[in-house]
Amino acid sequence: MRRFLLFVPLLIFIGLGYFLWRGLSIDPTELPSARLNQPFPAFQLASLTEPERMLTEADLKGRPALVNVWATWCPTCKEEHAFLNGLAQQGVTIYGINYKDEPLKAREWLKRYRDPYAEVVLDQEGALGIDLGVYGAPETYIIDARGVIRYRHVGAVDDRVWTDLKRIMDQLAAEDAS
């Protein structure tokens, strides 16, 4: 018993060391989405490209898709735009949410850099953004065919991120097929 007590400080040290070491590799800015595995929040907002047409969450259903939150004021969005164009060409469905932006600028941007989006929801007030729990653009969500949020990525989508996203998209496609 006495002997064992001698080892207590060592055990405490190892335990603390483990947690501190783990803490080094945790990125505190990467938050899990509180909306994970929940239906996409309800909304009724105009389309960016055809402002007289209203879009709702029902328009996002039907097949697994990416939902990309973007804005012209966001430099990282510009960075990832070319990559999104590439994905759209490969046949990936991408919906856009134009987040707290100026519609004129946003339309101009899509004309200049090409439009990878199947639909773009105009969220000028950021209300849908708050319902989704968006805290910075760009953010990219994966929704399944029933419109349930399955994944969230904060930051630009690039090759490395896409390998993760693609794995989940493929899984969802397989779920649908079965």
Binding site: L31, P32, S33, R35, G129, L132, G133, Y135
Partner: protein, 161 residues
């Protein structure tokens, strides 16, 4: 630079500073001071998701300003504190609470320190009790006359030296 120009420039810089300082936190009007007090308390307890070491009352990031607006809107609709907090948690997760709720996940946070304090107290008690017991056990046996004489002799020798 001549002094006049310098003071004009300085004046300009100061003026600009005060404008931005006012622009950061927007003014909300409240019907009664109680609601205003609740607004202050709630925005101080809610963490800004973007700038993670600020609460939404202090942060000047756009998302914090949006969230302040939401809190204001909810309070004006007559929501109670719990509803405002639920609104934030369903969107941003438990993470935004600077005062985490008491549940199975946060028991260790809330009660851990008291448990540690308890362990510390028990340890101190055990150690002090053991010390006292050994101190009592170590009372010196009485010396008999011979021993006392020898002891005195030794002490005397010591003094002489």
């Amino acid at each position: 630079m001549n002094p006049l120009l310098r003071s004009i420039l300085l004046g300009w810089v100061l003026a600009l500073c005060s404008v931005t300082a006012q622009a950061i936190i927007e003014a909300y009007e409240f019907d009664d001071p109680a609601t205003e007090e609740r607004f202050q308390r709630l925005t101080e307890e809610l963490r800004c998701p973007k700038c993670q070491n600020n609460n939404i009352a202090d942060s000047n990031s756009p998302i914090a300003s949006d969230l302040r607006r939401e809190v204001y809107r909810l309070l004006n609709q007559g929501a109670d504190d719990e509803e405002v907090i639920d609104f934030m948690v369903t969107r941003y997760g438990e993470f935004v609470l600077y005062r985490p709720r008491v549940n199975e996940m946060t028991w260790i946070l809330w009660y851990g320190p008291f448990v540690l304090l308890g362990i510390g107290l028990v340890a101190v008690l055990l150690i002090s009790r053991r010390r006292r017991r050994t101190a009592v056990g170590e009372t010196r046996p009485e010396l008999d006359a011979d021993e006392r004489a020898r002891l005195n002799q030794l002490l005397e020798q010591d003094k002489k030296r």
